[in-house]
Symmetry: C2
Subunit: 347 residues, 2 copies
DNA sequence: CTGAAAGCGCTTACAG
DNA sequence: CTGAAAGCGCTTACAG
């Protein structure tokens, strides 16, 4: 197959160690010799064999830490699957991945977890951050003082020295929903926006994207809300019922977050299934069923798996090959699904 | 890190070769000994290190052949990128991939390419087949007589001994389009279907899926056509103009294949941009632009990359690890995109 | 600055 | 049926 380091060594009349030093800029080599070896390697079309490399490097194994918040949510459980896939792959390549799960969101716990990771001597950290000053300061300290690169995922903290972010572009997600709702309603009528928490930045980005784009492209649509249901079905139901009372001729509902079942119960109760157009988010819980039953017209989702997988692999590629990520923000695909594009073998 | 074969050998008081024979059922070992070793390995939680395995196996390298048809089309060029990714990965794991490109579709050339692959002693073939008797017979002969597994991709030939198929479910794709068109038109009006070739099975599946689902779920919609434009813009334009003449109050167009620009010219000519709802296929050519310009409302697409990547990897996993694919038909995701979910950095 | 050697975890002829 | 040894392609102390 490929050219090996041994062949180059023979062609150059030096030892394999010398070739290694030349090709990987390890110093301790006469510059002219290094130059000559590199030229020979180029000419012979040398491509390092990752296998040999990895096997040899597995002696000083690369350890990567992962810190998960909100680990109890269905979304994070999906993300965790992606992390585990990455673990398997990193393991195969001779590295190690340490995962620390935190239930709910908690700055204190995050900082403690980071400290723990440092004690374990991880060489990089992938984490779900929190938009709090002390967390951000800690991230910067890890990067600058300890030289431990940090990749954020799912939520971002832009004003830090984190290497990059992997996750959804919330504003764009809201715009996509606006495009769908616009077409579903023929660009006119009344559409309610129901969100989860006003304090959650990724949810409010969706609301902003939605409202802005509706205003821009479908000025014939009047927006009701946003109202907040705290991702609870009971609350979502009450809100929806309330809206129906105020606005009996409602044409559509955009739901940024959980509470689907409550909303659908209210729709069913009002006898408006299929008639009130609904766009919701995420491929979790009973959402596919609700789509099949005709309550939800479109689901917008993100690839949770890749939000776990990619951050770990980005760090591994950095630490193993010195490959830096291409961009500071790696936005995941925004999937649009209708009842015909539900993946096989899913709930 | 993990438990190694050497540790098991020490624990069992045998040589590493013996452990290998026990764990990989290579025979030439006393059954009791094999059993004992397997028990010990289990207990110690042994997981074979793929790296060591691959590096060692790279001596008798695994060669995989790929046969591409219609290599000149934009779609196949995307597929080819996936193939090249797989090549790189297989290469890294000590294997080799041979790619044979055929312009257009041609049974004779396919059979010749298969023969060539056999001469090259490939251990598996991934190919775009052709629904012709002699091609199918040849596939069966390769599988049964030569014991060379065959994976089909992009198009399938069900009644053969091929290991599995990777590609789109055309009928489902048509149904997804029907769901979109139904919502775009409010479930009523007149919708034209324009396809590429009546002889192309994957295109006719789309037509069938579309028409059946419209009839079932949106009985208020009347279907015009299908007409065939041979994927030519000129022809597509004429057809569309013809339809406008016959059906001035047309509400939508479903285009199963290329000819988008021709159709859009006709729409523009009639001053009906945005008004006639359009659903088209594939993320190629000017399709994203046409969507941004408001001609196309939804694009349905397939992940071309994975249709090249996966078949090669399926064969590699089979030949390298003895892992068989999970299903005989591996359907790729059906993506729905609107103007807000166009991936970054794409034309 | 350079080389010889050992080692990463596995597989595979070769002896016996 | 079993073991000792060589080898896959690379990296890395250790000498010099």
């Amino acid at each position: 197959m490929g050219v090996t380091i041994r062949q180059i060594a023979e062609a150059a009349g030096v030892s394999r160690g010398t070739v290694d030093r030349a090709l990987n800029n390890r110093g301790r080599i006469r510059p002219e010799v290094a130059e000559r070896i590199r030229a020979i390697a180029d000419e012979m079309g040398y491509k390092p064999n990752q296998l040999g490399r990895a096997l040899s490097m597995s002696r000083n194994n690369i350890k990567i830490g992962v810190i998960l918040q909100g680990a109890e949510t269905p979304f994070m459980k999906e993300v965790l699957k992606g992390i585990q896939e990455a673990c398997a792959e990193v393991d195969n390549l001779g590295g190690t991945v340490l995962v620390h799960k935190i239930e709910h969101q908690n700055a204190e716990d995050v900082i403690l977890a980071m400290e723990k990771m440092r004690m374990e001597e991880v060489r990089g950290i992938a984490m779900v951050p929190l938009d709090e000053e002390r967390v951000k300061r800690e991230i910067d300290r890890f990067v600058e003082e300890f030289r431990i690169p940090v990749v954020t995922f799912t939520s971002d903290v832009e004003d830090t020295k984190r290497l990059c972010f992997v996750g959804q572009n919330g504003v764009q997600c809201g715009r996509a929903a606006a495009g769908l709702m616009g077409e579903l309603t023929g660009g006119k009528g009344k559409v309610a926006v129901i969100s989860g928490y006003s304090t959650n930045t990724s949810l409010s980005s969706r609301v902003v994207g939605f409202c802005e784009e509706i205003a821009r492209k479908y000025p014939g649509i009047e927006i009701i809300g946003p109202e907040y249901c705290f991702e609870e079905n009971g609350r979502a139901r009450e809100i929806t019922e309330g809206i129906f009372k105020e606005v009996p001729d409602l044409d559509g509902i955009y739901l940024t977050s959980h509470g689907e079942e409550g909303v659908c119960e209210a729709i069913a109760g009002a006898g408006k299934a299929g008639q009130v157009k609904m766009v919701a988010n995420d491929f979790m819980g009973r959402n596919y069923e609700l789509m099949r039953e005709g309550f939800i017209h479109f689901l917008i989702g993100q690839d949770a798996r890749i939000q776990g997988y990619e951050p770990v692999m980005i760090l591994f590629r950095l630490l193993f090959n010195g490959e830096a990520p291409e961009r500071a923000k790696i936005f995941t695909e925004i999937y649009i699904r209708n009842e015909y594009t539900i993946p096989e073998g899913r709930h």
